[in-house]
Symmetry: C2
Subunit: 224 residues, 2 copies
DNA sequence: TGGCAGCTTATTGTATACAAATGGCATTCG
DNA sequence: CGAATGCCATTTGTATACAATAAGCTGCCA
């Protein structure tokens, strides 16, 4: 993707993810074009992409709105994600290389280190967590699967902080990763898939809690 | 989608599916624009969409090519499709209405009729088959799932005729549908999912055979 | 007062012109 | 003779102007 187009896409996407563009609010191409410092053309490209990724919806007369996810939508996305990531884990179990296993161990050690200290370094945890999952996906070796997972991995919820600072959850995540490592080591795809399913389901419940809180807050703001 | 854009998308897509645009061949925006009788703008929209759907790939310098699927790619797509359709069947089992069940029965009866005659009406079979699956997807009630399935359902293989005229396969499909109906009737999601998995796996093997033949033919044409 | 018609304005869709980047070819130099 | 470099042709990216369409408003009529 070229410069202007990429900038527009990343800008708009992060504005949605961060909540700067409020769920449900209308989107005007020209306004975004000005915000991003590009013309409407690359903005339109980005909107189309984001629409495919379901971050944006359009009504029947082609106007765009920031997607407003219900709890059901969120669960739906997570259900698909759990299924796809479990599938990735299963595929990875029979394909992963010694080197990739080593990388997984490295990142899991790092993310443990990030939270096993008086002042937990959550961004560091998240970064190594992301890389951990990326390596599994790479080992699964399915471009289609990668594309599909990208569509359900990022959630447009503002209050992700709530989840991130729940240390108990982070520790459990680390533990799941450890178990995944053993399953991979034993080339046990079924086990890896099962662990991964639980791993993602837990994430869902953490998100769901944050989402409810967020929705409550937004509702009371509207009422005020 | 508006007129010009929609026309361009459908035209290009069907040119790819029909093989009119050969796998691996380069695509030039302006040439397609002329073919479709529109400007480059809607053509570019369409190309982006088709790229997301993996019908088109781009090299690192942004040039577009018609996707050329290996047998592995095909299997990969079918594996995902089997998983997603099984998931749809499972969800449908607990949500499907009496009315939808009736529609399923109707379409399955129709598609049986289409092949239970001296001169089988394959297009009719395919149409009712499509509707049968569409109803299940609707009963599954997940927009995301619907979108994802759309991405792996159509296969850019020319020789689909080979499969379509294998009556034995078509009869087995009908039988699978029958079994699905019973599973739905009993609200047995696990059973429905299992039947659907087998249903799609069989389709894969039929496709794979046609694909191999097709690839052989293309290779020998290149050699000549 | 309520609703509908027609106009006005806002917004998106399409075409086109121009800019940027890439690939291929030819020429030149080692 | 082969490889590297610079130029030209081709192709894609971006901006902008204009067309089409939909929404909202105003005023009229029942």
């Amino acid at each position: 993707m070229s410069r202007a187009s990429e900038r527009a896409y990343n800008n708009i996407r992060s504005m949605i993810l961060s909540g700067e563009l409020q769920p449900g609010s209308q989107i005007r191409e020209e306004a975004l074009a000005e915000l991003c410092g590009v013309s409407r053309t690359p903005v339109r490209d980005s909107l189309r992409r984001l629409e495919a990724e379901m971050f944006i919806r359009r009504n029947d007369s082609q106007r765009s709105f920031v997607a407003d996810w219900s709890l059901d939508d969120l669960e739906d996305a997570f259900q698909l994600r759990a299924m796809l990531e479990a599938h990735a884990a299963k595929r990875a179990a029979s394909r992963i290389t010694r080197e990739q296993l080593g990388q997984l161990r490295f990142h899991n050690a790092q993310l443990k280190q990030a939270i096993d200290m008086p002042n937990p370094d959550v961004p560091k945890f998240l970064d190594h967590n992301r890389q951990f999952h990326a390596i599994i996906l790479a080992a699964a070796a399915s471009e289609r699967l990668t594309n599909m997972l990208a569509q359900v991995t990022e959630q447009p919820v503002v209050l992700r902080t709530a989840r991130h600072y729940d240390l108990e959850n982070l520790r459990r995540s680390h533990h799941d990763h450890d178990e995944l490592l053993i399953a991979f080591d034993k080339r046990d795809g079924a086990w890896a898939a099962a662990v991964m399913t639980g791993h993602i389901r837990r994430a869902f419940h953490a998100y769901a809690e944050a989402h409810s809180t967020d929705t409550e807050i937004r509702k009371s703001k509207l009422a005020a």
